[in-house]
C-alpha cells in the first residue's frame, strides 16, 4: 500500500505527486521501477487474488475429470482427462442427477417467472395508481423483506403438511407446494426494485394509450411490460439464482430423492460418503454451476450496473 505521507507544507500543483497526464507520459523513457510503482504492483496484487478466486474452481473441474473417484486421487490437478464421472453421474441410479437437474430447472424457472409476474403487477399498482395505504404498503414491504422467509421454516413445514391433508398436490414433498412457499417472497425487495424502474417510464405513454381507448390491463400487458423488460430480466435472474441454491426449505419439503433439487440431492449424496463420492460430486457440481455462471457472466453488465446503482445514492 501507499506510504503515509503527510506534509504540512502547502505545496502547489507541482507538489510531490503531480497528477500524471497522458501527454507527459509519452516523453519519458520507460523505466521498470516506475512502471512497477505505478501499475506493476497492481498487476501483482490482482494476479494473487485471481489465483485465490479461481483455484478452488479449477480444482473442482480437475477432480471431475479424474476417473480415480476419491478425494485423495483428486489432488493431482488435470493429470488425466476422462469423462467417466459424468457418465456415472447420469447412469448410477443411487443418485438421480438428471432428475435433480430437471427438478431444479423447473422449480427455479416457474418461481422466477411467477415472481416476475407477481412483482410486476404490484409494482404497476404502486407506480401508476394512487390509493389509500399506498405509502404504508410500500413501507411494510420494505420491512417484511428484511426477515428472511426461511427463518420460519418450522411453521412452513407444518403449514404445508396440513395443506397436504386437504390438497395432496400442494402438500409436503410436492414441487407445487415448494414453489408456493417461494412465491411468498415474490414481493418484497423485488417490488421495490421494479417500482423504482416502473416509475422511470413516463406516465404520458399510459395517458396516450388511454386516450386511444386502451384499458388498464391492455396498457399493462402490451405497453408497460415491454418498456420495463430489462428489470424483469434482472429480477427473474436473481430469483432463479436464489431459488436454485436454496437449501433449508427445499430440504424439509422434498424428502423423496426423485423429487429433490440439486442443492438437496448433491449435499445428501456427498455427505453420505464424502471421500468416495468426491469425483462424481465434482462432476455434478461442475454441471450445476455452469448454467448459472454462464448466465451470470453474460448478464454481468446488467447485474453489476444494478449493484453499483443500488450502492450509490
Amino acid at each position: 500500500m501507499a506510504t503515509t505521507e503527510v506534509t504540512a507544507r502547502p505545496s502547489g500543483p507541482a507538489g510531490p505527486t503531480p497528477p500524471p497526464s497522458s501527454t507527459g507520459r509519452a516523453r519519458r523513457p520507460f523505466s521498470l521501477g516506475r512502471w512497477f510503482r505505478d501499475t506493476g504492483w497492481r498487476h501483482l496484487v490482482a494476479l494473487v487474488l485471481v489465483v485465490f478466486a479461481v483455484f478452488p474452481l479449477l480444482y473442482v473441474l480437475s477432480a471431475s475429470f479424474n476417473p480415480g473417484g476419491s478425494l485423495v486421487g483428486s489432488n493431482q490437478l488435470f493429470s488425466t482427462i476422462d469423462l467417466s464421472n459424468y457418465v456415472d453421474l447420469f447412469t448410477d441410479p443411487s443418485q438421480p442427477f438428471g432428475r435433480w437437474f430437471v427438478n431444479t430447472l423447473v422449480i427455479a424457472s416457474v418461481t422466477a417467472v411467477a415472481t416476475v409476474f407477481l412483482g410486476a403487477l404490484a409494482a404497476y399498482a404502486f407506480s401508476r395508481m394512487r390509493f389509500r395505504g399506498r405509502r404504508v404498503g410500500l413501507l411494510s414491504l420494505m420491512l417484511v423483506q428484511m426477515f428472511p422467509q426461511f427463518l420460519a421454516f418450522v411453521a412452513i413445514f407444518l403449514l404445508l403438511s396440513s395443506i397436504g391433508d386437504v390438497f395432496p398436490a400442494l402438500g409436503l414433498g410436492t414441487h407445487l407446494g415448494l414453489i408456493m412457499v417461494y412465491l411468498g417472497g415474490a414481493l418484497g425487495v423485488n417490488t421495490y426494485l421494479m417500482y423504482g424502474y416502473f416509475s422511470t417510464v413516463p406516465v404520458s405513454i399510459d395517458e396516450a394509450a388511454k386516450i386511444d381507448g386502451a384499458g388498464h390491463a391492455r396498457i399493462f400487458f402490451t405497453i408497460v411490460l415491454r418498456l420495463v423488460a430489462p428489470i424483469l430480466a434482472v429480477v427473474g435472474l436473481l430469483s432463479f439464482i436464489a431459488t436454485s441454491g436454496e437449501y433449508v426449505i427445499a430440504s424439509l419439503v422434498l424428502t423423496d430423492p426423485q423429487s429433490q433439487t440439486l442443492a438437496v440431492g448433491l449435499y445428501m449424496f456427498v455427505s453420505q460418503a464424502f471421500s468416495n463420492n468426491w469425483a462424481i460430486f465434482a462432476a455434478g457440481a461442475v454441471l450445476s454451476a455452469v448454467p448459472v455462471m454462464v448466465v451470470f457472466l453474460l448478464l454481468q453488465k446488467y447485474i453489476v450496473g444494478g449493484l453499483t446503482a443500488g450502492s450509490v445514492k
Binding site: 503515509t4 506534509t7 497492481r42 498487476h43 496484487v45 490482482a46 487474488l49 478466486a53 479461481v54 478452488p56 480444482y59 473442482v60 477432480a63 485423495v72 483428486s74 489432488n75 403487477l121 395508481m129 428484511m146 426477515f147 422467509q149 427463518l151 420460519a152 418450522v154 411453521a155 412452513i156 403449514l159 386437504v166 408456493m180 412465491l183 411468498g184 417472497g185 414481493l187 418484497g188 426494485l193 423504482g196 422511470t200 413516463p202 405513454i205 386502451a214 384499458g215 402490451t222 434482472v234 430469483s239 441454491g245 436454496e246 437449501y247 442443492a263 456427498v270 450445476s288 454451476a289 448459472v292 455462471m293 447485474i303 453489476v304 449493484l307 453499483t308 446503482a309 443500488g310 450502492s311
Partner: protein, 545 residues
C-alpha cells in the same frame, strides 16, 4: 428471497426516445374500455377455477373438522371474488392481490404461526391432539386377549381402504369396520350357507388373489371394536378368522387414565402426556400450550443455555468479521484495479468475480473437500502432507469458515466499491492533493468516509445476510466440531440459524418444533434490533456529511 444480490435497475429508458418501442397506438379500433372478450373469458376461467378449488377444499376440511381454515378460506375467497368482480376503486387491489396473498400466507402468516408454535410443546412425541394420543397409545403394543372368541371375517374394501366384515360368533350379528371406523352393524349383508357374512352393500369383497397380493396390509389391519379404545381391536392373520387384541395399557374414559396390566396408573400430568407416579410417561403425548416454557428453557436449561450463549456470540462475531473482511478486501481490490492507466482490468474483473457466480451451496462443499485434514488438497499438496485440522479444531474451523466466506463474499463488495469509487466526485481528491495530502491521507480522510456513507445500507444488509448465512456453515462444517458439554448437536462454528435447523430436524435428540420456533423468534428480534440501530446510525452518518 434472501440473497446477497441487492440489485437496482440498470439504466432506465429515457423518456421520449424509447416511446417508439411500444406498440403503435391503434387508432382505427373502437374504444376498448376495461376489458376485451379475452380478458373477460380469462377472468371467468381463473375465478371459476379458484372458487372450484375453494369449494373442494372446504368439503375436505369440513370432513377433517378443520373449522378455522374453513372460515379463512370462505372469507378470503369471498374477498377475492368481490375484488375481481367489482369496478372502479378496487382497481389497485386487482393488481396487488396475487402477490399479497402469497406474501400474507407464506411470509407473514408463517412468522405468526412460528410465534404460536413457540408457545407450545410441538415436536416429536407431541404432534397431535389428546384424542390422537389416546388412540395411538391404545393401538401400540397390542396383545391377543387369551380367551378371545374367534370371529369369522371377510376382508372387504371401500374407497381403497381395507375393512373387516365380521360375523359375531355369539349373536350372529354382522358388522363392518375399517382402521379408522369402529365396527358398525350392516343392514342387509350377503351370507353363505353357514351364516357367515361374505359381502356388504357399499363394500367390495376381496378375492383370494387380492388378499394374497395385499397380505402385508391385511395382517396390519387393526379395526377398533367400538369408539372406546379400551374395548380392544380385531386383527386377523389368515384373512378368515380374527381375534380380539388389546393394548398392554387400557384407557378409562371416566377417570381419563391408562391402567397397565400390572396395575400402574398413568394420569394426565398437565404436560401433554400420561405420566405414572414414578414419572414414566407413555408415548406419544399430545400438543399443549406451554406458555413461556420454551424461552425459559432456552435460558436456564444448562444443556441449551450454555451452547446458546456461545453460538449467539459466534453468530455476531461471524457476521461482523465477515462484513469487515469482505468489505476490506473488496475495497482494497477495487482501489488496486481502479487506475486509469492499468491494462487488462476487464479480464481481472471477470476472473475475480467468479466465486460470486458460483452457487454458494457448492462452494461450502468444495472447500470442505479442499480443507479435508487427511486427503484435502491444501494439506496434501500445498502444505506437503501436513496435518492441519482445518475443520476439526474449534478455532481453526472458525477461521476456515471466515476464510471461505471471504472467498465467497469479497467479489460482491468489490463490485459495490468499484461503483461507489467511480461515482466519487474527482474534484474532492484534486482539492485535497492541492492542499498537500498524500494518497493515504486522501483515502483515509476523503474517500473512505464518503464510501462508507454510500455503502452503509448495503453493509447492513450484508450483516443481516451473514447473520443467517446457513449455506456456508452447514455445507462446510455442519456447525462442527461439536461441543462436548451438551447432548444437542451444536458446535463451535454453528450459527443461530443452523442450530435452530438442527433442533427442528432432530439431530441429536427428538425434533423439537416448539424450542426451534422460540429460538427463531429470538433471531427475528436480534436481526430487527441490529437493523434498526444500524439504520439510525447511518441516518446520523448522512447528516454529518
Amino acid at each position: 428471497m434472501a440473497n446477497q444480490v441487492t440489485a437496482a435497475p440498470p439504466a432506465p429508458p429515457r423518456g421520449s426516445p424509447r416511446l417508439n418501442d411500444g406498440p403503435p397506438p391503434r387508432r382505427g379500433r373502437p374504444a376498448l374500455t376495461g376489458a376485451g372478450t379475452f380478458a373477460v373469458l380469462a377472468k371467468i376461467v381463473l375465478l371459476g377455477g379458484l372458487d372450484g378449488l375453494a369449494v373442494a377444499g372446504i368439503v375436505v376440511m369440513v370432513g377433517l373438522s378443520m373449522w378455522v381454515p374453513v372460515v379463512v378460506t370462505v372469507v378470503v375467497t369471498g374477498l377475492i371474488n368481490w375484488i375481481y368482480l367489482g369496478r372502479g376503486r378496487r382497481l389497485p387491489a386487482k393488481y396487488l392481490t396475487p402477490g399479497v396473498a402469497f406474501l400474507l400466507v407464506f411470509q407473514v402468516g408463517v412468522v405468526l404461526f412460528s410465534g404460536y408454535i413457540a408457545f407450545t410443546n410441538y415436536g416429536d412425541g407431541h404432534n397431535g391432539s389428546k384424542d390422537d394420543a389416546i388412540a395411538s397409545i391404545s393401538r401400540a403394543g397390542l396383545e391377543r386377549v387369551p380367551d378371545s372368541p374367534a370371529y369369522p371375517v371377510t376382508v372387504v374394501e371401500k374407497d381403497g381402504d381395507l375393512g373387516l366384515l365380521v360375523t359375531d360368533p355369539d349373536s350372529g350379528e354382522v358388522e363392518v369396520g375399517t382402521a379408522d371406523e369402529p365396527l358398525t352393524v350392516v343392514g342387509s349383508p350377503l351370507t353363505d350357507a353357514t351364516g357367515t357374512a361374505t359381502g356388504a352393500p357399499g363394500y367390495t369383497t376381496l378375492t383370494l388373489a387380492d388378499v394374497l397380493g395385499r397380505q402385508g396390509d391385511v395382517v396390519d389391519l387393526t379395526v377398533p371394536i367400538s369408539d372406546d379404545p379400551g374395548s380392544g381391536f380385531l386383527r386377523t392373520d389368515d384373512a378368515s378368522t380374527a381375534y380380539v387384541y388389546r393394548s398392554a395399557v387400557t384407557y378409562d374414559a371416566a377417570t381419563d387414565t391408562f391402567t397397565a396390566t400390572d396395575g400402574t396408573v398413568y394420569r394426565d400430568g398437565g404436560d401433554g402426556a400420561f405420566v405414572s407416579d414414578d414419572g414414566t410417561a407413555l408415548t406419544p403425548g399430545w400438543k399443549i400450550g406451554v406458555g413461556f416454557d420454551n424461552f425459559v428453557r432456552a435460558f436456564t436449561d444448562d444443556q441449551i443455555s450454555q451452547p446458546l450463549l456461545r453460538v449467539t456470540a459466534w453468530t455476531f462475531t461471524f457476521a461482523i468479521l465477515s462484513v469487515a473482511s469482505t468489505f476490506a478486501m473488496g475495497l482494497f481490490l477495487a482501489l488496486v484495479l481502479n487506475h486509469p492507466r492499468m491494462r487488462g482490468v476487464r479480464y481481472y474483473r471477470v476472473l475475480v468475480i467468479l466465486p460470486y457466480a458460483f452457487p454458494a451451496f457448492l462452494s461450502g462443499l468444495v472447500w470442505a473437500g479442499l480443507m479435508n485434514p487427511e486427503f484435502g488438497f491444501i494439506n496434501q499438496v500445498l502444505l506437503g502432507g501436513a496435518d492441519v485440522p482445518w475443520l476439526t479444531d474449534p478455532w481453526l474451523a472458525r477461521f476456515s469458515v471466515l476464510l471461505v466466506n471471504l472467498w465467497l463474499g469479497y467479489p460482491y463488495m468489490f463490485l459495490v466499491c468499484t461503483g461507489a469509487l467511480q461515482s466519487l466526485p474527482g474534484e474532492l481528491e484534486e482539492a485535497a492533493r492541492v492542499d498537500g495530502a498524500g494518497p493515504w491521507r486522501v483515502f483515509r480522510a476523503i474517500k473512505l468516509p464518503l464510501l462508507l456513507v454510500s455503502t452503509a445500507p448495503l453493509l447492513i444488509a450484508s450483516f443481516a445476510f451473514n447473520f443467517n448465512n446457513f449455506n456456508v456453515i452447514y455445507m462446510l462444517t455442519r456447525g462442527w466440531p461439536r461441543f462436548s458439554d451438551t447432548t444437542l448437536d451444536v458446535g463451535s462454528t454453528d450459527l443461530l440459524i443452523t442450530m435452530v435447523y438442527k433442533i427442528a430436524n432432530g439431530q441429536g435428540g427428538g425434533r423439537d418444533f416448539g424450542l426451534a420456533s422460540a429460538l427463531s423468534i429470538l433471531i427475528f428480534i436480534l436481526v430487527a434490533l441490529v437493523s434498526v440501530v444500524a439504520y439510525r446510525r447511518t441516518k446520523a452518518l448522512e447528516e454529518i456529511h
